[in-house]
């Protein structure tokens, strides 16, 4: 009786293995399983290395780097540029053809969100920090301040 069960189990495993090899010969597709597809970075860090650490390391430990960098900067006053969130954002967050940046609050277009929403990891960096590259923010600030000046009727708005 036991031998019969074992042989059935053996056949099952063999079947699984066989179907695995049969499938492997077919064209490679992702099927119904989705996987994050974050936008490409703007530049490589160096000729040998695309990011500030090897990709494997970045995928696993970027959160630790950012957290330690935050503690060093905020609690110990050591501002280093190694793992700067602003530099990450400047290189990784890209705009569409109209110059608009993706939202960090919804969708999967934003570089950070594409993986974080997939893995159910919430980010609180952007409650304080900008989720878009710096220059856009500064031009936005100028825009806002000029609007304010407009409404005050300051001389620079008169023809």
């Amino acid at each position: 009786m036991k031998a019969r069960y074992l042989s059935i189990l053996g056949k099952l495993m063999l079947g699984l293995l066989l179907s695995l090899t049969v499938n492997a010969a077919e064209p490679v597709t992702s099927g119904s399983v989705t996987i994050p597809n974050p936008p490409k970075a703007k530049t490589n860090f160096s000729a040998e290395q695309p990011c500030v650490e090897p990709i494997d390391v970045m995928r696993r430990s970027h959160g630790l780097f950012l957290k330690h960098s935050r503690n060093d900067t905020m609690r110990h006053g050591m501002r280093t540029s190694n793992y700067s969130l602003v530099t990450c954002i400047n290189c990784h967050v890209t705009s569409d053809e109209h110059g608009n940046y993706p939202s960090v609050k919804e969708g999967t277009e934003h570089f950070c969100r594409s993986c974080h929403s997939y893995a159910a990891v919430t980010i609180d960096c952007f409650q304080c920090h900008a989720s878009h590259p710096e220059e856009v923010i500064s031009s936005k600030v100028n825009e806002v301040s000029s609007i304010k000046l407009d409404s005050l009727g300051t001389p620079n708005t008169s023809p």
Binding site: L20, S30, A120
Partner: protein, 268 residues
């Protein structure tokens, strides 16, 4: 180790863990299903609810819930064991819920459900320490209480050790060594939706991190021993005759079907 070797190794672990996961799931589901079938078929010839017992079926439901959720009879017999047991089981539930993120593609569910999965994450992260604390307490009970040590067998220790290995490797992955959780999720989703052709692509293969391999090996072993071990107390508690019977011995005649067949069959 060259790149080719690493690729081949990842391919091996991917196949190995995918197959082990299927085998373990089959053993778990069929094994526990068979045990539950066996429990339902086991005759309970006597009316033996532990008194004071509820007089109605509704009362029994409440009694069982108190037993299953709050471990009422353990609370009455031993407060400190109850405390460790509650900490361990409660934390285990939260941790299991946290792991839902590896088995659900956000596109499969409506957004509020995914939001709940996101919400549970930090709680699950810290529940892992509570689980380890509870497990260590239960292990200390076996090791340092004289009469408990006397009746403890190897399998009693095995379950605690397996759960400790799972807990410690999990905590290490959360806080120290890390793994590529996105790649692991792609692997797991491919496994549970039978998309084996994905394993050709490295983005869907098992991340080759030793802690992850240890964690999953221990989980797979636990799934396999479940139907053959004391872990069956999970479905078994619902079948305790002292707890699941209504105290209506005088209102209603209680008789096992086989007894009717043997002693009260119409004479021909």
């Amino acid at each position: 180790m060259g790149g080719g070797n690493k690729e081949a190794l990842m391919g091996f672990w991917t196949t190995f863990y995918a197959l082990s996961f299927y085998v373990a799931t089959l053993i778990l589901i069929l094994g526990v299903g068979y045990k539950i079938y066996q429990y339902t078929k086991t005759p309970a010839p006597l009316k033996i609810p532990t008194t004071p017992a509820p007089l109605t079926t509704g009362g029994v439901v409440i009694r069982m819930l108190l037993e299953v959720i709050l471990f009422k009879s353990l609370f009455r017999s031993n407060k400190w064991i109850w405390l460790f047991a509650m900490i361990f089981h409660g934390a285990l539930w939260v941790i299991l819920l946290r792991h839902l993120r590896y088995f659900i593609d956000p596109q499969w569910v409506i957004y509020p459900i995914w939001e709940l999965v996101e919400l549970i994450q930090p709680f699950g992260k810290y529940a892992s320490f509570a689980m380890l604390f509870g497990l260590l307490g239960l292990l200390a009970r076996r090791l340092f209480v004289e009469r408990m040590r006397y009746i403890s067998s190897a399998s009693d220790y095995l379950m605690l050790v397996l759960l400790l290995v799972i807990g410690v490797s999990g905590v290490l992955m959360s806080f120290v060594t890390r793994t590529d959780i996105v790649q692991f999720k792609a692997f797991m989703l491919s496994v549970i939706s039978f998309q084996w052709q994905n394993f050709e692509l490295s983005a869907y293969q098992m991340p080759p991190d030793s802690m992850l391999l240890v964690h999953l090996a221990a989980v797979i072993l636990l799934m396999i021993v479940f139907p053959f071990s004391k872990l069956l107390h999970a479905p078994g508690v619902f079948f305790s005759p002292g707890r699941n019977q209504v105290d209506n011995a005088r209102e209603k005649r209680h008789v096992a079907p086989w007894a009717i067949k043997q002693f009260e069959a119409p004479q021909t």
